[in-house]
Symmetry: C2
Subunit: 118 residues, 2 copies
DNA sequence: CTCTATGCAAAAACTTTGCAGGGAT
DNA sequence: ATCCCTGCAAAGTTTTTGCATAGAG
C-alpha cells in the first residue's frame, strides 16, 4: 500500500503514518494493546485515527472473544478464525463461498477450536 | 429444551431458570441489557450464571459491533449475520458449507450490510 | 487566523470480583 | 457445618469524550 496516497480525505500526519505502518507490516490483526508499545501517541489519538481510517475504508476491524477490537489493513480480502480456547486469531485466505440473499457480505469470522488446541 | 435436565453439574435455581427461560423463548440472541428488565436478579448473578452455562455448553455467545455479548440457547445450529450499519443481528439457518482443515468450527459470524440498509 | 490534530484526564459502557449474608443438604 | 448461590458495591478493561494547546496552511 502506498502510504502517501491513502485517501484525499486524510492528512497523513506522523501519528497516522505510524499506525498504518504497524498495521501494514503485520501479518495478523492487532489490538491497541498489541501496538501501543510501538507507538508514541496517546490512546485517544490512536482510537480517533483508527475511527477515521475505518470511515475511509482503509482499516477494518472486528471484535474477538477477549472484548478487544482487532484492526488490520486488508491487503487481500480474507476471513478470520478465532480459537475459543487459546483466543488465537488466524487469517483464512481460502475463498469461502457464502452468499446470503440480498445481503452484502464484508467479513466472515469463524469461531471454533484451532488444530493446536484440538 | 427440558429445563429440568439441563446438566447434572448445575443446580437449577430460580435465577438460573429465569435466565434460561428468557433465552429459550427468544428467537434471537440477547444481550444482558435486552434481558435485564425481565429478570429480577443482580447483574453479577446474571453474568456468573451465564459463564457457568457457557462452561456447560448450554449457552453460546458472541460479541457484536456494539461491544456487547449476545447470548442464546441454540435449539438448532445456525450462524449469525451482523449488519455493520444498523447493528441488527439475524440468525442464518441455511447451512453454510465451510470447512477449514484441522479446525473445529463452532460458530460462523458474517458481517456486512443487511437488505434494509443496502 | 482558522481548522484540524494531539495529549491528558475524566467519563462511559459492559463485565467481573470481593465480601458478607442466606439457603440447601 | 459445609458448600454453593446471591446481592451490593467496588474494581477492571477497553474505548470515547471534553477541553485546552499545538501545528499546518
Amino acid at each position: 500500500m502506498d502510504l502517501e496516497n491513502i485517501s484525499k480525505n486524510i492528512k497523513l500526519t506522523t501519528a497516522r503514518r505510524a499506525i498504518l505502518e504497524v498495521l501494514v507490516n503485520s501479518k495478523k490483526p492487532l489490538a491497541y494493546e498489541d501496538i501501543k508499545n510501538n507507538l508514541s501517541m496517546d490512546k485517544a489519538t490512536f482510537y480517533r485515527n483508527i475511527t477515521k481510517f475505518e470511515e475511509e475504508g482503509i482499516v477494518s476491524s472486528f471484535e474477538s472473544n477477549d472484548k478487544k477490537r482487532y484492526f488490520e489493513v486488508q491487503k487481500t480480502k480474507h476471513s478470520h478464525f478465532i480459537c475459543n480456547v487459546c483466543s488465537k486469531i488466524e487469517c483464512i485466505h481460502e475463498k469461502l463461498d457464502i452468499d446470503i440473499k440480498n445481503h452484502q457480505i464484508d467479513n466472515i469470522i469463524i469461531k471454533g477450536i484451532c488444530p493446536n488446541c484440538l
